[in-house]
């Protein structure tokens, strides 16, 4: 009994000691006699908000001017100079941040997270190019996006790579977009920012790996025009969808196409579509067969993709720091012999119970299971849509840019002999 009381008293005393150890200033600030004045702790301010507002104003102005140059002035020269300006301002001056491409993740996170507060400037950077595209086509890509402008300016010797390879590589942006949305929605990572090849160049501080990636991309960009825009850019996917329904769009000829074929090979991005005249109309039977094939194929690809996504959801979730940590706590034998990670050390010193991290990790893994189905289904839909697009034929009489993938760079306009 006595021992019990003593133990309780000791525990209370010890706990009191622990709690108050923070409250005692170990070495109180001395009273100086020599008239010493304590220096002030300086707290320099961040970049003024007025400059952030200026970014938005410059974005809207650049979008307006480039749209005018593409659709009204029909001038490649002007688009070129706006590209130079955008590269200088949004690229080297603003160091590529904030950009519309990365803003996808902020918007996604704001939609899925209760606590994340998105700066309004980021929302404008995300929305303004989409709205402009709905009205006028992808003029943002033509000369406002610093990444696009950079690649556009260095595509000196563009070579064609053919429609097949174009279509296959064109699937990558969809996968990238799906992954970026998944990782942003689960609060895991902003992969678009993390693997952005240009930011390191704009800031002259790329790591070796990223520098290598950027170097390869830019070098190949001399021969394969705009490799990032065509085969990586996740924002381009959204612009592609919207641009298909745009109210206006740049045209190769200002009036009527005379079928002179001068523009045929002018596009470095291979998006000019040749006329398809109704020479050999399909039979009704073959149309019905194709239709049934498409109807069956797309759900099949979606289910296959979704199932695959759900199967690999644990691997996808391992990118998340909390999941990794829970895994390390659960399977210590796997990590034996390795030095303790900084995360583990920090977790141990924080004194949080392991159950907390387990429940959080299992919640995140559940999110990834659902996300895996959606991600896989989306990729399946993309691939299904690709095949469906190959099967169907669209009839057109003139040389026209593909509205979805045309960057409105206006190169082809210079090849058209009709000037008014």
């Amino acid at each position: 009994m006595k021992r019990g009381i003593a133990l309780v008293v000791l525990t209370i005393l010890f706990a009191w000691q622990m709690a108050s150890s923070y409250a005692i200033q170990r070495f109180p600030k001395p009273e100086f006699e020599s008239g010493y004045i304590t220096p002030e702790t300086l707290v320099p301010n961040p970049r003024a908000e007025i400059l952030e507002v200026m970014d938005v104003v410059v974005l809207l102005l650049a979008l307006s001017v480039v749209t005018w140059a593409v659709l009204k002035r029909r001038s490649r020269n002007l688009v070129f100079w706006i590209s130079v300006f955008s590269l200088a301002y949004f690229g080297f001056y603003r160091e590529g941040c904030v950009c519309s491409i990365g803003a996808i993740q902020n918007v996604t996170l704001a939609m899925f997270s209760g606590s994340y507060i998105i700066p309004w400037t980021v929302l404008v950077f995300f929305m303004a190019p989409l709205v402009f595209t709905l009205a006028f086509g992808r003029t943002f890509c033509a000369g406002v996006c610093p990444f696009g402008a950079f690649q556009d300016l260095i595509s000196w010797r563009p070579r064609k790579i053919g429609p097949q390879l174009n279509a296959v590589l064109g699937v990558i942006p969809y996968i990238y977009l799906a992954l970026a949305v998944l990782y942003a929605a689960t609060k895991t990572d902003f992969i678009i920012c993390r693997y952005d090849p240009f930011v390191g160049i704009f800031r002259f501080d790329a790591t070796f790996g990223m520098f290598l990636f950027a170097g390869i991309l830019l070098l190949s960009g001399v021969f394969i025009a705009r490799p990032y825009c065509r085969f990586l850019c996740p924002y381009g996917v959204l612009l592609n969808w919207i641009s298909r329904f745009s109210r206006y769009h740049m045209t190769i000829t200002p009036s009527v196409c005379i079928q002179c074929r001068l523009c045929e090979d002018s596009c470095p991005y291979e998006v000019i579509e040749k006329p398809v005249t109704v020479k050999n109309p399909e039979t009704r039977q073959s149309i019905v067969r194709k239709f049934i094939l498409i109807i069956l194929m797309i759900p099949f690809f979606m289910l296959l993709g979704g199932w695959t996504g759900s199967q690999i959801h644990e691997s996808l979730a391992m990118v998340n720091g909390k999941v990794r940590m829970a895994n390390e706590l659960l399977h210590p034998q796997k990590y034996q012999g390795e030095p303790e990670s900084i995360e583990m050390a920090a977790f141990r010193t924080s004194g949080k119970p392991a159950t907390e991290i387990y429940s959080e990790a299992s919640r995140i893994i559940r999110q990834f299971y659902i996300g895996g189905w959606i991600l896989g289904g989306f990729i399946g839909l993309t691939i299904g849509g690709l095949f469906a697009g190959r099967l169907t034929t669209k009839y057109r009489t003139d040389f026209e840019p593909n509205r979805g993938s045309c960057f409105s760079c206006n190169r082809c306009v210079d090849y058209c002999p009709i000037k008014s």
Binding site: Y22, A23, Q25, R26, F27, P28, K29, P30, F32, S34, Y36, T38, P39, E40, T41, V43, P44, N45, P46, R47, E49, E52, C97, V98, C99, G102, Q105, N106, V107, A110, M111, Y116, I117, I118, P119, W120, T121, V122, L123, M127, L130, V131, L134, D189, F190, C193, R194, V199, R203, D205, W241, I242, R244, F245, I342, E343, A345, A346, T349, S350
Partner: protein
């Protein structure tokens, strides 16, 4: 008849296009409305909470800036002006002088100046500081904890995803409104409101 059919097709296409435009516009508006509720009026910056910080050293190595935008900030109001400073001297130091072999700071960014017996002032040369947090750890362990790591907002690029925040093992980083960018910890749980 043929011409009429052609016209019909064009009309149908036009109708479809207008419908799609309206659809896109509505969904863009929807996303904006959904997200607009969560927009902040001002800008946001990255902030390091010194109470959560474990001085792992990643602030020095993970920042996109070189040297890092994270610096050691001295809250003079909390300093004990000790002769034997846990943030300045290596633990096994015998003689308390400014000899390079005695200093904890790898870049010799802390300046020790004599004030009056037996007190010394310690100030940080931020040009030299790399934000490794070694002095912070020492001051926390043996002193008052007046040395604290903070993101210097005049240097920070304010990346969309802070590359230090991504690897911070103790979740000490968060986005905060730009009008209160610093979180300098006062004594214990009490926070000094320095702006």
């Amino acid at each position: 008849m043929e011409g009429q059919g052609e016209e019909k097709r064009i009309n149908r296409r036009k109708f479809f296009r207008t419908g799609a435009q309206a659809g896109v516009l509505v969904s863009l508006g929807g996303i904006t409305a959904l997200v607009a509720r969560k927009t902040g009026s001002g800008e946001f910056v990255w902030q390091l909470d010194p109470t959560k910080c474990t001085q792992c050293g990643r602030c020095a190595t993970s920042c996109v800036k070189n040297p890092s935008a994270v610096k050691c900030v001295h809250v003079y109001a909390m300093c004990g002006y000790c002769d034997l400073c846990g943030g300045y001297f290596l633990p096994e130091t015998k003689t308390l002088n400014t000899g390079a072999e005695n200093q904890l700071c790898p870049t010799k960014a802390i300046k020790r100046t004599f004030i009056e017996d037996p007190f010394f002032q310690y100030s940080i040369d931020e040009e030299l500081c790399i934000g490794c947090g070694k002095c912070v750890k020492g001051c926390d362990a043996f002193g008052n904890g007046s040395l604290q790591l903070q993101v210097r907002q005049n240097i920070c690029d304010n990346c969309n995803e802070c590359s230090i925040a991504r690897v911070c093992p103790s979740d000490a980083y968060s986005r905060v409104p730009a009008d209160k960018p610093y979180l300098l910890n006062g004594f214990g749980k009490e926070k000094l409101d320095i702006t």
